[in-house]
């Protein structure tokens, strides 16, 4: 009995313990951008302010799920990076708090309109346009013409060569769907999706997977955010980036302060700092090719030149709302995904 007791105690002791309450001068950052960018942001903020940063990197969907699960007792303070939709969703569910930063007058209009559409609960920190990229080797090997417009992708010779993510699982693909609806109108937009469906070889789960597959030579054309495609090209894969001629939609990478943050003051300091020119210029040091939201910040020379891209007037308020999203996704499920390929 005695020996068992000791085993029982040690095992149970190792099973439970608690952590609670807060301490001054530290910040828990949930980061949804790429790993090295997140690291750089966290370390630079520490250097700039002396506040200790605990950074955890997860994809935006994962972070959203975590913040929602933790909402009774929030553990995070600031959520930086990641596509805007989950940030808007968090705002809609009151998981994030409203804050008007004094830095606002330095920002592009699109960053502020992101904030106003969410009752100031989130703000734009970078943007990236939707487009596609193709593997130049594979295109040549299959004697395919170079595509340059959205409608080019409907041509029958591309059958089995196009990949995009499943809008049910990926924010990127949902942005594609919503962009097509806004670009061509709802009826024609869905006709486009149906035509595209015939050429699609796979709907991937993750948003950037199509272009990664293209980089590795597993797929010819991938519909993704252009900065993801640029990253493939810069990494050394034979990928060419295309800004579709009809114009295109875009995402706004966002930042929010979590409702009930334990270190609210530090969170606001980070928020203001992250909107500054210095902080946004850090993107140049890592392979991040998005357009920063501060008007004074620089954009990487490899990034797609936004002046040559026709951007649609993307309505984030409407298409970011959960009702509209549910409706479009259901329509896509019923009208498009069930068609034979």
């Amino acid at each position: 009995m005695k020996k068992f007791s000791t085993i029982a105690v040690t095992s149970i002791v190792a099973l439970t313990a608690g952590v609670s309450a807060a301490q001054a001068d530290k910040l828990t950052l949930y980061c949804s951008a790429q790993e090295d960018w997140c690291q750089l942001m966290a370390r630079s903020f520490e250097d700039a302010t002396g506040i200790d940063v605990n950074m955890t990197r997860k994809s935006s969907g994962e972070t959203f799920a975590q913040i929602k699960a933790e909402s009774a007792n929030p553990k995070g303070d600031v959520w930086w990076g990641g596509t805007g939709d989950p940030h808007l969703q968090a705002a809609e569910e009151n998981l994030t708090m409203a804050y008007v930063s004094p830095m606002r007058d330095q920002l592009h209009d699109w960053a502020i309109s992101q904030a106003t559409s969410a009752g100031d609960k989130t703000i734009g920190i970078y943007s990236g346009a939707l487009g596609y990229g193709y593997n130049t080797d594979l295109l040549a090997a299959n004697n395919l013409p170079e595509p340059s417009c959205w409608k080019d992708l409907l041509k029958p010779e591309y059958k089995g060569h196009v990949q995009m993510a499943n809008p049910n699982s990926s924010g990127t693909a949902y942005t594609t769907l919503a962009s097509m609806v806004q670009l061509f109108g709802e009826d024609e937009g869905f006709e486009f999706m149906k035509g595209l469906h015939a050429n699609i070889n796979q709907y991937t789960k993750s948003g950037s997977a199509p272009i990664k597959a293209a980089g590795r030579g597993e797929n010819t054309i991938g519909i993704v955010f252009m900065h993801d495609a640029v990253k493939q090209a810069v990494s050394g894969f034979p990928v060419k980036v295309v800004a579709p001629c009809e114009g295109t939609g875009y995402e706004i990478g966002s930042m929010s302060i979590i409702e009930g943050a334990r270190n609210e003051d530090e969170a606001k300091k980070f928020y203001d700092w992250a909107l500054s020119t210095d902080a946004q210029n850090l993107a140049l040091e890592v392979n991040a090719f998005q357009v920063p939201s501060n008007t004074g910040a620089q954009t990487s020379p490899s990034a797609p030149d936004m002046s040559t891209i026709t951007l649609i007037d993307y309505d984030f308020k409407t298409y970011g709302s959960s009702a509209e999203r549910k409706r479009l996704l259901q329509k896509w499920d019923e009208d498009v995904s069930t068609l034979p390929q």
């Binding site: 439970t16 007792n73 789960k205 030579g217």
Partner: protein, 726 residues
């Protein structure tokens, strides 16, 4: 008993009641305001200062338990006092823990009854923990004193302990999560929500009969059955080669079969893509040879099937090797003496005796395939399975936790059906072969008709594994896998560089932080997993008590559910008091213990059902109690099972992904989540270099464990190629 009463008093009066913020193993509280500071005070001091008065009733059962001290065990009052004290104390502890939360009362009716509390609780700490265990074990001792399980204190306490921890760490979080299936968008509960999500065409559609796509549920089921059968057959093949043939390089074969479980899952997927993908080496070779267009045949069912079979065969092998070795040669010799030829012996004696192993191996393969997430993600193509659907229902563009819960229920239903089918098949037959009686002899060789296909299968599969791992190793030393094949060591340097300075070694590599955390967590989780698993297996095979089936079912639950669901459910359940462990290393350890425990249980059950009960009985007759019997008789005979449980839990703790994604924090980042981050960022070289390093580390660890645990000699057998065996 005295031990637990003292422990209870210590927990109440000396140790800090609430969790210490700096972490479980930080002892700063000793010098920082203890025992009067509210954050560190023991319950007795809190009450003395007029704080947290709801803790006060906890002292009553502690006092009443003292009355049992002078009484004899046979005194009916002794049992009654212990049961009452334990039950009331434990009950109140739980009730106050769940009733009063972070914002005062947790339930509206409590609020209505007592008004606003105006106070809050934190997560429970050492004191609460110790007091809870004290009450629990006082209670079980009372039950034992009343004569339950022949008054066996060890067995009753073990059952009580396992039930409590399984309830807390398995039932509670999963129930919380699954409840989401019935929640409407407005936050109410409704069965129709469940129905509409359950009867979704994406789940049950049968379109694949007519060229379109099938629902995820059918896909998963079909895949899991196929994988279960394939891995069991291959596992048996390897086990036979190792135990029943004159094959020379058994060690190499063993190492080879262990390789896939020590591999971070998506690495196999990547290697398969580079071999068989559209631009894969093998695909291109055959395309050129036959002049056909390369296709994307790998993406979908074939790819997932290959990857999962590769990944899960070792688990079947680990379960089967113990069982195949355990079949007593004397039985086989008896058959041969009765003029059965080798084939007849194998078919009518050896094979039927391996049934528990076969059934358990199939069950594990089936469940693993159901819950596997990494391979379908990388290779699935348009072949949707439940586990990935669940993941993207939670983190995808839909944000539909209800759908995730419904899918998880479907998955759970399949798993449980498999579990019951396995039990039906095994039936109530006896598979005991290791008895206390003389057990000399030699395993017969396989019959020729069997040996040839077995060797071919083992050879082909072994070669395939070698090629896949060759690719992985190669991938870690080239500049950019598949594009720029210049040899380089830079990925290893980036990840694992060290600098020697005057102050000592500085770990400058990018991967060290997550590497050490992973090792530490895995090393902490492995022995605990094996212990909990084997004790459970012992209870299940050797003791009979009411509710045994439900108990067994409960221990399998956490294994059968995909990691993602576990991850989210752990956050939901353990982010608020009374158990507040999110963001700590402990939540990782706990999740590993309860996710991997079932393998220990399965391996233990398979081995223990071969050990004759007369061994226990003779030990008990000779005056040993059940703990001594377990310790001195059963445990030594279980060494293969212990090894399997240890190895498996250590390795899984290092390679698991899906649950971990939600549980890692800045301080406790795991290797796999770091690797996934690198893959997302196109750093394939670094990711693969890191994975390769992990593979070697785990190989070393497995070898070390093998030496530490030692091999067991069942009976006085001489093996073929005895030198390699021992």
């Amino acid at each position: 008993m005295i031990f637990w009463i003292v422990a209870g008093w210590v927990g109440f009066c000396i140790l800090p009641w609430y969790g210490v913020e700096d972490g479980f193993f930080a002892f700063e509280w000793l010098i920082d305001g203890y025992p009067f500071d509210e954050d560190y005070a023991p319950a007795a001091f809190l009450i003395g200062q007029g704080e947290k008065l709801w803790l006060a009733p906890l002292i009553i059962p502690l006092i009443t338990s003292l009355f049992a001290l002078r009484r004899k065990k046979s005194d009916p009052l002794y049992a009654k006092i212990l049961i009452a004290s334990g039950a009331i104390g434990f009950g109140w502890l739980i009730a106050q823990g769940f009733g009063i939360g972070i914002r005062g009362f947790n339930f509206e009716w409590l609020m209505a009854l007592f008004g606003d509390l105006g106070d809050r609780q934190f997560g429970m700490g050492y004191g609460a923990l110790l007091l809870a265990s004290a009450y629990l074990f006082l209670f079980t001792q009372g039950i034992a004193a009343r004569g339950a399980i022949n008054g066996d204190v060890f067995v009753v306490s073990a059952i009580g302990g396992v039930i409590v921890i399984v309830t807390v760490f398995v039932f509670l979080p999963i129930a919380k999560m699954l409840l989401a299936a019935f929640i409407t968008e407005e936050g109410g509960y409704s069965a129709s929500v469940f129905a509409s999500k359950f009867f979704d065409d994406r789940l049950w559609g049968l379109g694949c009969m007519s060229g379109a796509r099938c629902g995820a549920a059918w896909n998963s089921l079909f895949l899991a059955i196929t994988v279960g059968i394939l891995t069991t057959v291959l596992g048996l093949v390897f086990a036979l080669v190792v135990t029943r043939s004159g094959f020379r390089y058994k060690r190499a074969l063993r190492a080879l079969t262990v390789l896939p479980i020590i591999t971070p899952p998506f690495v196999i997927g990547l290697a398969l893509i580079l071999l068989f993908g559209l631009s894969g080496t093998v695909t291109q070779f055959f395309a050129d040879l036959f002049g056909v267009q390369p296709t994307r045949w790998l993406y979908g069912m074939p790819g997932v099937l290959i990857a999962q079979t590769l990944a899960f065969t070792p688990i079947a092998f680990l379960v089967l090797i113990g069982v195949v070795e355990g079949v007593s040669p004397s039985m086989e010799e008896a058959a041969q003496t009765l003029r059965a030829n080798r084939w007849q012996t194998f078919r009518t004696v050896s094979l039927p005796l391996m049934r528990p192993g076969l059934a358990n191996a199939f069950l594990l393969g089936f469940i693993e395939s159901m819950a596997d997430f990494g391979n379908p993600l990388v290779l699935g193509g348009n072949f949707d399975v439940l586990s990935t659907e669940i993941f993207f229902a939670i983190v995808g563009a839909q944000y539909d936790q209800g759908r995730a819960a419904v899918l998880a229920m479907v998955l759970l239903f399949f798993t449980l059906s498999a579990f019951y089918a396995q039990r039906m098949w095994l039936g109530k037959k006896s598979y005991t072969t290791v008895s206390g009686k003389g057990d000399a002899g030699v395993h017969p060789l396989m019959p020729n008709g069997l040996a040839v296909p077995v060797f071919i299968a083992a050879g082909v599969w072994g070669l395939f594994t070698v090629v896949v791992y060759g690719m992985i190793l190669y991938g870690s030393v080239v500049e950019l896998w598949g594009v720029n094949n210049t040899l380089t060591f830079k990925h290893y340097v980036t990840a694992f560089s060290v600098r020697f300075e005057e102050t000592g070694i500085r770990w400058t590599g990018a991967a060290w932080d997550s590497f050490w955390t992973t090792i530490y967590i895995a090393a902490a989780a492995a022995p605990l997993t094996a212990a909990v698993g084997l004790i459970t297996a012992y209870l299940l095979t050797r003791q009979s008590f009411t509710g045994k089936n439900a108990f067994e079912f409960g221990t399998m639950l956490s294994f059968a559910i995909p990691g993602t669901v576990i991850g989210v459910s752990y956050i939901l359940a353990f982010n608020v008091p009374p158990i507040e462990i999110t963001g700590t290393g402990i939540i990782l350890i706990v999740s590993f213990i309860f996710r991997n425990m079932p393998v220990g249980v399965r391996a233990g059950i398979a081995s223990m059902s071969q050990l004759d009960k007369s061994l226990d009985e003779s030990s008990l007759t000779l005056g040993a109690n059940s703990w001594q019997t377990f310790r001195r008789v059963i445990l030594p005979l279980l060494k293969p099972a212990i090894l399997a449980a240890l190895v498996y839990s250590f390795v899984r703790a290092m390679t698991a992904i899906s649950a971990v994604i939600f549980l890692v924090s800045a301080e406790y980042d795991m290797a796999t989540s770091y690797i996934i981050g690198r893959v997302e960022n196109n750093d394939y070289g670094l990711a693969i270099a890191y994975s390769t390093t992990l593979i070697f580390v785990m190989l070393a660890a497995v070898g070390l464990l093998q030496v530490l645990v030692g091999r067991t000699k069942i009976g006085r057998r001489t093996q073929f190629g005895a030198k390699e065996q021992t």
